[in-house]
Structures are given as C-alpha cells and as structure tokens.
Symmetry: C2
Subunit: 422 residues, 2 copies
C-alpha cells in the first residue's frame, strides 16, 4: 500500500516511474545489468565532450556566484576525471551481483523450506551536493544492485548532472532497459528534495552525501528510511605503552596521507605517562608535513609552540592538515573524551597492553575500532568491498564501510507442499 | 557526539541513565544476562500478586473510561497469563546470545585482521499500547541482546507497567546490574513519547507495537531510527492450477486458525479459470467456521450469498473472521491488486504451475512470499528463531520475522601491528 506525502503531481509521476522501473530491474540477471553498465561506460567515452561543455557552463555560473575554489574544484570535470569515472563503472561491473545471494535457509520439521534471499530495495534516492562524480557513482551502484535511482544533486552542478543522466538514460535504452531507472529531480529545486524526503512508499531508502549539515537535515526531515553516511571526528589514543615509531607513523599516516577524507584522524589523545615521551617525535613528524597542531593545556605544558585547542576544535572534522591533541589521565578519560566528541566513525588505539587493547575494542562504540593500525584503513576499498557506497555511522541496517550488499534488502522465500499450521 | 531534541530535563536524565546502563550491558557475558533474566522470572513468580493488584486498578479505570471488551481483555493479567510471561522469559534464557557473534572477517594483504562482530544497539525504545505482556517481552529481549530498554506503554496499563518495571528493576539490582537498564517513561505522558521519538543520539532504535495508527505516527514523527513492525493485509492467490483440497485447507487455516494476528489472510485472489471450481468448496469451509466472506462483482456472480467487498475491505486488516475475495484475470492482475493493497507483510500462492510459482516468488515485493503453504507460518517462532521480536515490514535492517540478532548492530574490529596506508 503506497502512502506518500508528495504533493507536486509531476514529481509523483517521476517517482512512480522510478518505482515501475525498479520492478523490471529487480529480476534482471547480472549479465543484463553488466551490459547496461558497460553501455554507460561506453557512452561516457563517446559523449564526454557534451558533459564537459555542460560542466563548463556550471563552472562559469559557479564563478559568477562566487563559489569557493574548493567547491569549484569538486564541481570540475575534465578528461582525466571522466576517464576515472568510466573506470569506476567498469570496476563495478567486475563485482559480484549481490541480488539472489541466499543469506541463510532451513527446512522446518514439517518439510516447509525457507530461504532468505538478497533482493533490491526498489528505489534508492540520493541527495548530494555539487559533486558530479556522485551522479555516476550512485547510478552505477544502484543499477548493479537492481535498484532504480532518483538523484537530487546540488543546483551548482545542475547542467553537468542533467548531461550525465541523459547519457545514462541513452545507455539504458540502448540495452532495452527503461530510461526511468535513473532519473534526476534537480529541476524541482528545493521543493523536490523536500518531497523526495516525504515520499515514503515510493522511495525505499535515501542516501545523503555531503556536508554534515546536509546529512543532518535529511536525517531530521526524511520519513523515507535514511542511510546516514556521516562525518568522521576520528580519534587515535596513544596509550602509556605505545611504541614510539608506531605512534609516529600511524598518527602521521592517519592525518597526512589524505587529510580531506572522513577516516583521517582529527584528535590524538595521549596518556599522561607517555605524553613527554611521545608528543615531541609525533609533533616533529606532523610539523614537517605542514600540519597545524593544537593542544589542551597539558599538551601545551610539554610543547609551548602548540596553538590552543578549543572545545570546538575537538568537535570539528577539519578535513585539512589540522589536528588537536589532549593529554588524558587514563583509558577511562580517553573513553569519556571520545564519547563526548566522536561521530562514532573510526577510532584507533596504539598500545602494547593487551588488556587495554581489548577494553578499547569492546567499549568504544564506533563503527570501526582498531588496535595499532591507521584509521585510513576504515574504507570499503581497503576492506575489499570493491565499491565505495559510503561509510555508515548509524547502527541500523549497515554500520561502517558499505559494499554492494548494503544496497539490498532481503526477502523470505517459503516453499511448501500444502502445509498448514497446527 | 550526542545531538538530541529532547527538552524536559527530567526525561533527558532518564534517557541519559539508560545510555549509561547500556554501556555496562554491552560487555556482559551471556551467563550474567541469563542470571538477570532468571531473577526477573523468579520475581514474576514471587511478586505476581502485586502486579495483579495494579492490573485490577487499571482494569477498573478502563471499565470506568469505557474501554472496549477487546481492549480490556488485552489489558487483563491473571495467574495463567503471568505464568505464560514467566515461561517466555525462561524461553529467552535458552536462546543463544547474539552479541559477540562474528558475522564475517578476513585478513588483508598487509596482515591487518578484520572481523565484523554483533554488538548491542545500546538503548532500545518501545512505544506500545495497552498490552502489559509487551513490557516483559521487550525488556527480556533487550536484556538478552545487551540493550537497555526505555518503555512507553499505553496510559491504560500505567499501573500494571509500573508494577512490572519495579519488579524487573528489583531483579536487576539483585544480580548487581543497574536498575536503569529497564525504565518506563509512562509518567511523562504523551509529551514523553514525543520526546522519546526526538531523542536521536540517546536512543538508538525505536520499536512501535500496536495499531497501524500508532506505528504510522512513530514512523512519521521519529528522528530516532524505527523498526516498523507492521500490519498485515495478507493475500493468498489461488492460481488456475491450484489443487482444490490444498486451496481449501490453506485458506481455511490462514483465516481461521488464529484470526487476530498479522499473518492471518485477509484477501483471496482467485484466477478466473479456477473461480467456479474453487470458490464453492473454499466458501463452504470458511462459512462452516463462521467467517463472514465478501466478494467483488465477479465472485458474487459465482456465489450470490457473498456480501459486497468494497475497496476499503480490500485495504483492511480485519484481525477477525472476515475475508474478502476477488476474481482476477491472470497473475499480472493479481500482482496489481497486491501492489495496491498489500502491506508487504506476507503473500502466498497456491499453484501446480512451476513457472507461475517462480514468478510469484520473484515479483511479489513482500517480506515473506510463499508457495503452497499457509501464511500463518510467517512467524519468528515457526521460523525457529525462538523469540517473537515482531515482523518487520520495512526493508532497512530487518525484513520479515525478527529474532534476537535483529536487535543488534555490528562493529568492525581491526587488529594491526603498526600498518599504515600507502
């Protein structure tokens, strides 16, 4: 029974078409889905120029509207980035089809046979900001998992997204699939995003991608179930027994190797008994790579050159070469700090103490908890999932790095021979 | 980072205490959780009289407030029902602990070891109506799965629930666990329910139990993730090739064996080529058990004694000895009817045609789809899960009958020896 709060007739039509398309997609073989993905890759190669022209328009508008250099860079497509997108689609072709996988099953005492099987959600909605790569990414992941996709990108990328969706739809039709399997609702503006969030019954799951603000708005306003892929205020704890070179290498790697991503470390908590030993070499390594390091009072007592770390610093995902340090009395104090400031994405402890390692793994309530490893490993690609669906910071459905199976639901299949219940 | 919309300081205190209690529960061994459950069972045996006295008060108030006989019956506890509740708690003791189960794992090429492990959600909230058994049920299931429980029962059962929670808390303290592991917020009234739905960050998941209205309100208003355990407008399709005695037995069993439950059939769709053959014996059997049967025009052309089935009848979960029948042209017409009226809970087809059976299983988008079996098998107990957490009609997290593992989340445990990312 479809109960939806959407009001604009035209948008309801779009979503109804998505729902219809999702029915054809649900029963497609992997071969046919892969053929559709290959057609998209081929169209990206053939039609790239048109997409780049549309992107040039968005970039010109963006410059006129005073978009920051960072946003313009995210918005920008070029030959290399298009080639990377095309390669990403082909990577998804190579992944196993999650649909139809039997999760578990049994035969009841009366002979009734049960199996729980992976099925597509149906319609996956995505709300995101000016990153045209998400358009291709979500569309390809949705198709591979048998879902229709409804995309609401940022208005700054409107022309680029329209071009990309036109190209995807052409590819879909070329292999005999409905164009409505992938649709954009950018033309409906903000009202469209609001209605998408209220379209429970037509849209099965909604994935927000972008700033913490965007994600929180969707979580708060959506009646469609949301998969929250959250920001990472990621912590590394340097325990009293932490090995010095391990501490230096891991903190440096976790901050410097790619500072703009959600699994980069934001805060280091160092045990008071190890602070004088570990902070100097850690700070030397970080500063050599240009990291701006801030500290609480106790950290600044060890290194007076540290800038002052405020409460806000400890609560911020910098996504830049910035890091905050606090000295803690013990593991419990570290846990208390993490509970207060963590986004429950990823935390790691560097320690030689087995009991402390086990306590950390058991008691820190984050999607990914680590011992003696860089937080940068908290990633679908590194975990071997092959595709980057996002990293869930919620506890329902999926938690941590998500692969294709996380874009499916399940269904119970029951086969009998006339059995009834006593 | 805890971001919550709750406003009443006292309620925030209650929920904060739940969150704190959840931390102690999360790392308890199965032995300690089972000891707590056994203490609850023992308290139910010892303190039953006090609970019955509180229940008598609620019943008297209910009669005064004009509660229906059905509601009064749901509200009523007696020695037999208390004994059944006690037995249910002991059944849960016998189930395996879902926490700590390793779901999957691997070792990365660089030697980093991954395992995905079941962990409790943290705090499970329940909003339900005047069924005191839910108080014990949810509390016991939550404890077994390592979760704290916050309960908001109906005001009609306020005294009974207060008595039950006091008894549970006494049991918890007797085994050294925090009383705040199970709390009621009934004293905060409707405002309390509203705040519970907004307590994202303090409450990890919310389970509504009761009428379709209650469930829809929670789904609409909650920012806390909800597990929707829905109503069942359940269909049985009698295909052209359906065996007569199978059709009669299964329809009769699915309607009559226990009409007041969500997996009882509400609508029979019969293929036009089989309607004249199957309807007469099916109707005879149903009427012999006192079922009021309604039909569409084509069904009434075969049996003029059928009452008229309206659109509303087809959309209603009667939970009573009432059933609607429609004649359909083919499988596609049956699918169309199901898409329109089903709550996506459970549907079954009776057929001898293998191709139609497979189409039905593949194309009907419900939590449980069956061939030649009674819809009454759509049940956690029948599926061998041991406990009845409810039947999810949503696609996220859990779908269909839920067992204890569905009351848990997962966490990724990563063990390294100093590895960093290249």
């Amino acid at each position: 029974m479809i109960a939806t709060a959407t009001a604009t007739p035209a948008l309801v039509d779009v979503l109804t078409a998505s729902k219809q398309a999702s029915r054809s997609l649900a029963t497609l073989t992997a071969n046919r889905k892969n053929a559709a993905l290959e057609a998209i890759a081929a169209e990206l190669e053939i039609g790239g120029d048109r997409v780049l022209a549309a992107n040039a328009l968005d970039l010109a508008n963006g410059r006129e509207n005073g978009l920051s250099a960072g946003l313009l860079d995210r918005l920008r497509l070029d030959d290399a980035r298009l080639a990377a997108l095309t390669a990403a689609v082909r990577d998804i072709i190579a992944l196993p089809d999650p649909v139809g996988v039997v999760v578990r099953g049994s035969t009841l005492p009366n002979g009734v046979r049960l199996s729980q099987v992976r099925v597509p959600f149906g319609v996956v909605g995505a709300i995101y900001e000016a990153r045209p790569n998400v358009t291709i990414d979500i569309a390809a992941l949705a198709l591979k998992s048998g879902n229709a996709a409804v995309l609401r990108g940022g208005s700054a990328a409107e022309n680029t997204n329209r071009g990309l969706v036109a190209l995807i739809q052409q590819a879909l039709e070329s292999v005999g699939l409905p164009a409505s399997a992938v649709q954009t609702i950018d033309e409906f503006g903000r009202a469209g995003a609001t209605e998408l969030m209220g379209a429970r019954g037509l849209v099965d799951v909604l994935i927000p991608r972008g700033s913490a603000d965007l994600i929180q708005t969707v979580v708060r306003e959506s009646t469609v179930p949301v998969i929250e892929t959250g920001a990472g205020v990621v912590h590394i704890v340097l325990d009293a027994t932490a090995d010095e070179s391990m501490a230096v290498d891991i903190v440096h790697n976790a901050k410097v190797q790619r500072p703009s991503v959600c699994n980069a470390v934001e805060t280091v908590l160092v045990h008071r008994d190890a602070a004088a030993r570990l902070l100097p070499p850690v700070l030397t390594a970080l500063r050599a790579s240009g990291v701006v390091v801030r500290g609480d009072e106790r950290a600044r007592a060890i290194d007076a050159a540290l800038e002052v770390a405020t409460e806000e610093d400890f609560a911020t995902e910098h996504m830049a070469l910035e890091l905050s340090i606090a000295v803690v009395d013990d593991l419990d104090a570290a846990f208390e700090h993490i509970r207060r400031f963590s986004t429950q994405h990823t935390e790691s402890i560097i320690t030689a103490d087995m009991a402390n390692a086990e306590r950390f793994l058991a008691e820190v309530d984050s999607a990914v908890v680590m011992v003696n490893a860089s937080t940068r490993f908290s990633d679908g690609g590194e975990f071997g999932f092959g595709a980057e669906v996002g990293i869930s910071t919620q506890k329902l459905h999926a938690r941590g790095p998500m692969g294709l199976p996380e874009l499916t639901s399940t269904k119970w299949i029951v086969r009998g021979a006339g059995q009834v219940r006593d």
